[in-house]
Symmetry: D2
Subunit: 333 residues, 4 copies
C-alpha cells in the first residue's frame, strides 16, 4: 500500500484522490492545498490527513510518493523538493511552461535519480494504447501519416487561460505527446497555423482556440494535429494512422450505445462523453497502475521527465513557427 | 432491340417504361392502359405507340415481350393471353391474390412453355444479390437464422389497401420471396402475429400494418420477418443472416453520405431513401437486364412462375396461422 | 456497510464477491460453498470468513443480507431460509426451473415480507436502462415492436446444460425479462420455434441452441426474440424498439474503439466483448447499487420475486408452444 | 441535342463519351485522338464520326461544344482554338501545368467570352454538393476548419507521373478546388509537407506520394488536406467541416452495404469503390448536366476558367512552400 501525498485539491486533484483511495495498491496519506478547505474536503471523502505545508507532507514517513496536481507554476519546485525527499513522483502535465525552468529542474534532480512519471494520461487510454501496440508490431506495415483530432467541448475560463501558457502549451501539448508516443522516430520539423475564432476574449489574451499543426520526421512521416476548443457535441478525441497496408482509426466514446432513427435523422447517437474526466476515466486509473508498477515492481515509468520536456519543446517550436511564418527545424530534440 | 408492350401506365408502369427506353437492348413498342391518357403520357415521354386494346398490342408483330404492370386482378388473364400470343412475359408481383386462379393460370400456360419472369425486384438489389452469393458459396458456413426487416415509409391509401389482398399478400410477399431466395431449402412451417396499430382505417378494412412472421425449414433453419408500415425515417430494408461462422448483414441506402455532429446528436445520417422507386432503382434495371438475358440469350429467368406461386402459398399459410392460432405445416410446398 | 453472506463461490459468485468487496456501502462477511476450497479462495481474495454451513452464515449477526449464487436447485431453499432469518436477499436468476416450487417459495416467504431482488442484471446495463427510460417517457411515441437479439458466444458444457432447464429457461429467460421490462403491458401470447443446429450433443440432451420466440400484448405490440448459442464474434446483445415516431436501437460493446481499413475490409472493428462478465460488468455493479439502495435507503428493489416468476411463466409457455405447435394464450399472467 | 466533339479517347475520354451518348440532351458528333484506333473504338461504341484533325472536328457545323480530355499539354491550345471556333468548352483539369501558359490562354480567349467549364468533377458529387449547400446556408453556423482526406488507391505509372506536373498539380489540385468550393473566402496562406514514401521511383522523379497541406483564409479559417497515394482499401475521399455549432462529415461509398461479423472482426465492410471512375460516376453525369444547362439554358457554368487558374495558383504556392520552408502568402489570388 504505497502512501501518497497529494499536492493540489482542485478538480483534477480530487479525481486522482478518488483513484488513489479506490486502488488496492495505494492509499492517501496527506493532502496539501493552498486552500485548506479544499484539502479538508478531499481528506474527508478519500482519507488521509491534511498537511499544513509541503514540508509537513514530505516529512511524513508514511508518504512514499507524491502526486502533483497543483497549479503549473508550482510543479518544478515540488518536483525538486519531492526528489530531494526521496519520494516517487507522479506529476500532472505540463512540467512547466518555460523550457529554461524545465531544464533547470532536470539539472536539480537528475543525480537523485527519482522515479518520476509525467501525467500524459492519454497514453493509457485502452484504444490509443492498442493503436500504439499495433503500430509497434507493424500489423499494417510502416506508418506514413497520423491525423490527430483533438477538440475540447468548450474554451476554459479567462482566468484559467491567463495562466495556461497558450493553447499549444496547454491543450496541444497532449497531442504532441501522443504524436511522439505513436511515431517510430522523433519529429524534426514543425509548422503551425492558429486563430482565435470562438470568443473575442481569446484574442484579447493573445491566445488561440483553433489550430492546425504539422510535424514531420526525418524519414518523412507526417502528422497533422487539428485542435478546436468548442466541440459542442463533446470531447472529440480521435486518431487515424495511415500505414503501408491500410489505416487504423481510434475513435470516441459515449455513455451508451443508443441510436435514434426518426423523421429528421437516422443512426443518430448521443453526444460524446463530455470531457477528460469522463473520457479518460479508465486511462487515469491505468496511469496510476503504471506508476505503482514502477514504484512497487521496479518497472520503468512509461512517461519520463524527458517526454514532458520534449512535448514542451514541440509546443515552443510551434509558437516559433507561428511568429516566423516558417517551418521550424528541430536539429536536436 | 427487344420490342415491349407495356400493360399499365401507373406509377410502376412509368418506371418500367423509363427503364425500357433507357436500356440499349430493348425499346417500347406499345403501351396500353384502361385510362388512354395515361398510356399517351408514357408514349410521349418514352416512345412507342398507344394500343387501344390488349389484343391490338399483342397483335403487333414488333411486340416480342410484354411487361405487365396493370392492377393485380388483370395479371392472370394477361399472362395467359400473352403466352398464347407467344410473347415473353415480365409480370409484376403478385401473380394473383387467389391461389386457385394462380394455379389455373399455370395450367393454361404450362404447355406453351413461355419465357416468364415474376417481378420480385429485390432479388436484383446488389447487396441482397451479393448476400445470396455469399450464402450459396458458404463464406461463413451454413445458414442458421435470417432476420428480415422490411418497413414501408407509410400506409398506402384506403383505396389501394382495399384491393391489395392484405398486408401479407401485398407487402410481406416480397419478404417471403426473399426468404426463399436466401434459404438453402423450402420453409415448411409458418406462424404469424399481426396487428393494426397505425391507423384505425386499417383495422376497419380488416387489414394489418404491423406483423411478425416466423418460418422454419425441415432442417431447422429459422426466419423472422418483421414488418411495419410507417417507418417515418424511410424505407427500411435490411437482412441479417446468422451463419455457422458469423453473421452477414445487408443494410439500407441513403441519398448522400453526410453525417451531422451537433449538441443534440452525433453521426446523425439522413433519413433512408424514401420508398421502392428510389431504394430499388438499380434493382429494377438489373431485373430488366436479367429478363433480356433470358429472352435474347436463352438464359433461365431468375424468378419463375413457381416462385410467384410459392410466395403466395406462404402468405396464405400466414393468414391461416393468424386465423387458427397454430403453426401451419406446409406438407407440400 | 451492509454485511453480506455469499452462497456459491463459482464463477458468478466470485464476480459478485469482487463487486461487494469494492463497493463503499457493503462488505463480505461470510462465504459458503459446498466445495470449501472455493469458499476459501474467495475469502482470501475478497475478505470475510468461511461459513461451514448455511446455518452458520445465517446465524452470524453481522450478516444482514445474502447473495445467492449457488446452483439453481438450491435457490428456493436458500431464499426461504434467508427470509426466515430476516436477511435481505439478492438471488441470481432463475428462482427455480419449476413453477410449482417457485410458487411454493413465494407462499413460504410472502408474509415475512423480505427485501428480495432477482438478478436480472441486464436491466442495469446503462444502454438498456436508458432505452427503458426513453420508452417510458415516450420520446418517439408509443411502442409497436421490439426485436431482441441475444446470442451467446458458445454453447455451455454438457454438464451445465443438463441442469439448466433448457435454452428457454436458462438463456431466453433474460430476454423474457427484458421484454417485460421494456413493454408497457404484459405479453399475453407466446409462440416459439427452436432447433438444435450447433452440436449434436445439444439434440441428444433434448435441448435447443437456436430459437425464435414471438410475444404479443393485449393491445397488439409484438416482440421477436432471436437466440443463438454460438456467436463466434462475441456476446451479441442488441435491442431494437420500433415506435410511432421512429426507432431506438441499443447496441453492443467492445473493449476498444479501433477500426481497421485494409485490402480485405474497411471499418472492421474488434469482436464484441466475450460474454456476460465483460459485457455486463457495469450492470452488475449497478445491480448491487440498486439492491443497497433498497436495503439501506428503503427504496423498492427494481426486480421483484414476481418478475422472476413471470419470466419463468413465459419460458414455460414457450415450451408449451413448442410441444403443441400452437400460440399459447396467457389468460392470467 | 447538343453536338459534341471529343478530343482524347483514353480512359477518361471514353467515360465522357459514354456519358454523352447516354444523355438525353446531347450526342457525340466527332471524336479525335492522336491514336486513330482509339478514336475509332469510341465511335464504334458511342456513335459519331472520327475526325482526322482538330480542325476537321471544329469545322463540322454539327459540333457545338468540345470536351477536352486529351493530354494536359494540349489543353490551352485546344481551348483557344475551340473558343475561336465559337464552341462551348468542357475541359478536363488542369488547364495547364504552367501558370504563364494558363494566363496567356485566358488573354487569348477572354474577349471571345466562351462558355467554358473546367472539369473539377468532385463539386458534382451529391454528398459534397450537399455539404457545400449546408455550409452556404449555415445549418451549423460559420465554418472554422476543413479536413480534406484524399487518397488514391495506388501510384500511377512512371510514364504518367513524368508528365503530370507532380503530386500537388495532378492530385492535390482537386483538393485545392474542393477547399475553395467549400470555403466562404479565398485562402491566403499555404504551407506544405510532402514526402516520397511509397516507391523509390517516385523519389527518383523528384515527385511525392504523401503530403499534408495547410491553408488559411484572411479571417482565420483553416484547411488541412491530407494526401496519400496507396490506399489499398480503395479511393478514400472524405471531408470534415468543423463549424460553430457542430461538424458535418461527407464520407465514402461502397458497391454494396454488406457487413461481416466473424471471429476476426465485426461490422467489416467492403473496400471502398476503387477509383474516380466508380466513385464519381454520378458526379461526372451531373457535371455534364451542369454544362448542358450552361450551354442550352444560359446558366453560368459552375466551374470557371478562373477556378482552374486559382487551383493551380495554390499548387504552385504549395511547391514554393516546400522549396522555401515558409508559409507562402497569396497577396493577390
Amino acid at each position: 500500500m504505497l502512501g501518497f501525498a497529494l499536492f493540489g485539491a482542485g478538480r483534477i486533484g480530487c479525481m486522482h484522490a478518488a483513484n488513489i483511495a479506490a486502488h488496492p495498491r495505494c492509499r492517501l496519506v496527506r493532502v496539501f492545498d493552498v486552500v485548506p478547505a479544499a484539502a479538508a474536503a478531499v481528506v474527508e471523502r478519500y482519507g488521509g490527513r491534511i498537511a499544513h505545508s509541503v514540508d509537513e507532507a514530505l516529512a511524513d514517513p508514511e508518504v512514499e510518493a507524491v502526486l502533483i496536481a497543483s497549479s503549473t507554476d508550482t510543479h518544478v519546485d515540488l518536483i525538486a523538493r519531492a526528489a530531494r525527499a526521496r519520494k516517487a513522483i507522479l506529476c500532472e502535465k505540463p512540467i512547466d511552461l518555460d523550457m529554461a525552468r524545465v531544464e533547470a529542474c532536470w539539472e536539480a534532480i537528475k543525480d537523485l535519480n527519482p522515479v518520476i512519471q509525467i501525467g500524459f494520461n492519454r497514453r493509457f487510454d485502452p484504444s490509443f494504447e492498442k493503436l500504439h501496440r499495433e503500430l509497434r508490431e507493424g500489423r499494417l506495415g510502416g506508418l506514413r501519416q497520423l491525423i490527430i483530432t483533438s477538440r475540447d467541448p468548450d474554451i476554459p475560463s479567462v482566468e484559467y487561460m491567463r495562466g495556461a501558457g497558450g493553447l499549444l502549451r496547454d491543450m496541444t501539448i497532449h497531442d504532441f505527446d501522443m504524436a511522439r508516443f505513436l511515431l517510430p522516430e522523433e519529429p524534426v520539423e514543425v509548422t503551425c497555423f492558429a486563430s482565435a475564432l470562438i470568443d473575442p476574449r481569446v484574442a484579447e489574451l493573445g491566445d488561440h482556440d483553433t489550430a492546425m499543426v504539422l510535424l514531420r520526421t526525418a524519414s518523412g512521416i507526417q502528422v497533422c494535429i487539428n485542435n478546436y476548443r468548442r466541440a459542442v457535441y463533446g470531447y472529440d478525441q480521435r486518431i487515424e494512422a495511415v500505414c503501408e497496408h491500410g489505416v487504423i482509426v481510434a475513435g470516441n466514446r459515449r455513455a451508451t450505445t443508443l441510436e435514434y432513427w426518426s423523421r429528421e435523422a437516422t443512426e443518430a447517437k448521443e453526444p460524446l462523453l463530455h470531457f477528460f474526466v469522463e473520457r479518460y476515466r479508465e486511462a487515469y486509473v491505468r496511469e496510476l497502475d503504471a506508476f505503482l508498477a514502477a514504484v512497487l515492481d521496479g518497472r520503468s515509468p512509461p512517461v519520463s521527465f524527458e517526454d514532458g520536456r520534449r512535448a514542451l519543446r514541440l509546443a515552443d517550436a510551434a509558437y516559433e513557427s507561428l511568429r516566423s511564418g516558417r517551418t521550424v527545424l528541430l536539429e536536436e530534440p
